[in-house]
């Protein structure tokens, strides 16, 4: 294995940009299972012998989604359906959804009809995470998911198999958390290449690369003097936004993204029965806008995150037609305004609006430049 820093980062960038139809060629020793949400317990998929791959939006090609979805469905749902219809997921063992929002639930239903015979499973996570029956419900869902995977492979999945997978995923999360703590020694694009690679590569291949990378990053001097911002949204499809932030001298000092902070949160307890431990993580981690908890207010959490990361501002990166994030956005803006934290919004539809995003990010960097945290 080449442990050179640039070589490792290059591999991460390749993985971060890898379209699903090239996955099997790139990683021929593993059997991929498509995952569409960080609420999917990938430990179960690993325990069943598959490699979980977070499939994200790809630039629009055929428009095949139009047969089933309206144009006001979010671009993620449209793209996932299109990729499957175009055969981009051929060779994948199946697809696993989580019930995050109504659109993804509807997509799962369409998927099961459109691709009948393939493996497609929805892991339900309660909408109210702190409801009195949330733990019991989630446990039942995990048991059903285990049974479904056993039915697919014809092999039992033991608690020890799940414990081993929990150990593997905890290691990935710990490495990402370490890189998160070292963000100021990396470019934004380098950091997010690592987070996306962690969800794309076979985990056994990611871990030694990340372990080799970290000493290089630790040895690098911190990059100071850049305005600091928090990136908030659902998924990061690619490295466009982090790279543009690099170009204009803006440091992404933290985030609340499904493909980054919400993914790496953990660890899952190794001391409790494995399904209970997985359920506890799902219910206890940072609340996604598609979920609710009595004591949770997204705006307050973002204000706290901005202060903790000494950020000067917040960047909302929203997918067009994403209702859960749009609902939270209004309240979150109000809370940020009240706290005196400036913010901007980038909206993503079918693909990056590079020139317009660059102008917004550059103006934001210029605006924040004179501030002190």
């Amino acid at each position: 294995m080449n442990t050179d820093k640039d070589a490792i980062l290059a591999r991460f960038k390749i993985a971060a940009a890898l379209p699903p139809n090239r996955w099997i060629t790139e990683y021929p020793r593993a059997r991929p299972m498509a995952v569409f949400c960080s609420y999917v317990p990938e430990e179960m998929i690993l325990a069943a012998g598959f490699a979980p791959v977070r499939v994200r939006k790809q630039p629009s090609q055929s428009g095949a989604w139009g047969e089933h979805l309206q144009s006001y469905a979010c671009p993620l749902a449209r793209s996932l359906l299109e990729q499957a219809a175009d055969g981009e997921l051929a060779g994948f063992a199946g697809a696993v959804f989580a019930h995050s929002c109504d659109t993804m639930q509807a997509l799962a239903d369409i998927w099961r009809m459109r691709f009948a015979g393939g493996f497609a499973w929805v892991v339900n996570v309660p909408t109210r995470l702190d409801g009195p029956h949330a733990m019991e419900y989630t446990l039942r869902e995990l048991m059903d998911f285990r049974a479904a995977l056993e039915g697919l492979t014809g092999k039992p999945i033991g608690d020890d198999d799940i414990r081993a997978a929990i150990g593997l995923c905890n290691r990935v999360r710990a490495l990402l958390a370490r890189l998160d703590a070292l963000r100021d020694r990396m470019t934004n694009a380098e950091f997010y290449a690592a987070t996306l690679a962690a969800q794309t590569m076979p985990r056994e291949e990611f871990i030694p690369l990340a372990e080799s990378l970290i000493p290089h990053i630790e040895a690098a001097p911190p990059m100071t003097g850049r305005p600091r911002a928090i990136l908030v949204g659902a998924i990061l499809d690619d490295l466009t936004v982090p790279a543009l932030a690099d170009e204009v001298g803006l440091h992404l000092a933290g985030d609340d993204l499904c493909t980054s902070a919400r993914y790496m949160e953990g660890p899952v307890s190794a001391d409790t029965p494995p399904l209970e431990a997985l359920a506890a993580r799902s219910l206890g981690r940072t609340t996604c806008p598609a979920k609710h908890r009595e004591d949770w207010r997204r705006g307050a959490a973002l204000v706290a995150l901005a202060r903790q990361r000494q950020a000067h501002g917040v960047i909302f990166y929203l997918q067009k037609f994403c209702d859960p994030h749009a609902f939270d956005y209004a309240d979150a803006r109000r809370d940020l305004d009240a706290a005196g934290i400036p913010h901007i919004t980038l909206e993503d539809d079918a693909g990056p609006a590079t020139a317009q995003w660059r102008t917004r990010l550059q103006a934001f960097a210029e605006m924040l430049g004179g501030r002190t945290p």
Binding site: P342, I344, E347, D349, A353, A355, Q356, R358, T359, R360, Q362, A363, E366, M367, G370
Partner: protein
């Protein structure tokens, strides 16, 4: 030393040249044409001095080689407006490709801003497309709207759909004047929505080519409940801000 601000927009390229002490010595606006960069280079050729500090802004700024500094148009419009009006609180800039509202401090520092999303609604390009659909010169839109009797609401904000809507209204026998008034109502409402996002503070200054359309300005004044100041050469405020920022940067670095 001359301080040059070059604003390469989607419809026009603007240049402002200041002398060593900051006095205006040259300004010009030309169409971007097929290549804003070529138009910008041609404008620079009209400034025959080797001792110049060039700050480039506008959508074409990233592609312009040889500039000393690149600054976003948001920062430049704020700086230019603050130079012209020492008590500025809000800048509304409607350019060819986007519209933006900036809340600024009197020294020109931006404290919040909002821009239109990706579509052309609420931009100069929207008006240009509509003028073409109506087969009237852009310069006549103002006078036509002033002669409206019963403005026709245009419900589509998308330029493509609005064009179809306009054609439909004309086919249905509606007066051109009434359709134009409806279009100006729509563009003003769209920009007023952006302004409310950032909060309007007096003095409100409007820049960009659409500020030349007094129909849009008066409608915005009515919607925002605030008078709007329009500088005499509203199209070059961004280039002016760029030149001023260049002068400040140059002087900080000991260049004069």
């Amino acid at each position: 030393m001359q301080w040059v601000g070059l604003d390469i927009g989607s419809l026009t390229v603007k240049i402002v040249v200041l002398d060593k002490g900051g006095a205006l010595v040259f300004t010009k606006v030309v169409p971007s044409g097929r290549s804003g960069i070529q138009a910008a280079k041609a404008l620079l050729d009209e400034v025959p001095t080797s001792r110049r500090f060039v700050v480039v802004t506008g959508y074409g700024r990233v592609c312009m080689e040889g500039a000393d500094l690149e600054v976003s148009e948001i920062t430049c419009h704020a700086r230019g407006a603050a130079h012209l009006y020492g008590d500025v609180g809000t800048v509304i800039d409607i350019g060819g490709q986007d519209s933006k509202v900036l809340r600024v401090e009197p020294n020109g520092r931006v404290v919040q801003f909002a821009m239109n999303d990706r579509c052309a609604a609420g931009t100069g390009r929207f008006l240009e497309v509509m003028a073409r659909a109506l087969d009237v010169p852009m310069a006549d839109l103002d006078d036509l709207a002033a002669r409206a009797v019963e403005p026709v609401p245009i419900s589509s904000t998308c330029a493509v759909f609005a064009e179809s809507e306009v054609v439909g209204h004309l086919a249905a026998g509606r007066r051109v004047e009434d359709v134009v008034a409806g279009l100006l109502d729509g563009i003003a409402a769209r920009v007023a929505g952006l302004a409310r996002q950032v909060g309007v503070r007096p003095r409100v200054v409007m820049t960009g080519g659409v500020a030349l359309n007094s129909g849009v300005v008066s409608r915005l004044e009515a919607l925002l409940g605030a008078p709007i100041s329009v500088p005499a050469n509203c199209q070059v405020v961004g280039a002016l801000g760029a030149a001023l920022l260049g002068m400040e940067r140059g002087q900080q670095n000991g260049r004069s």
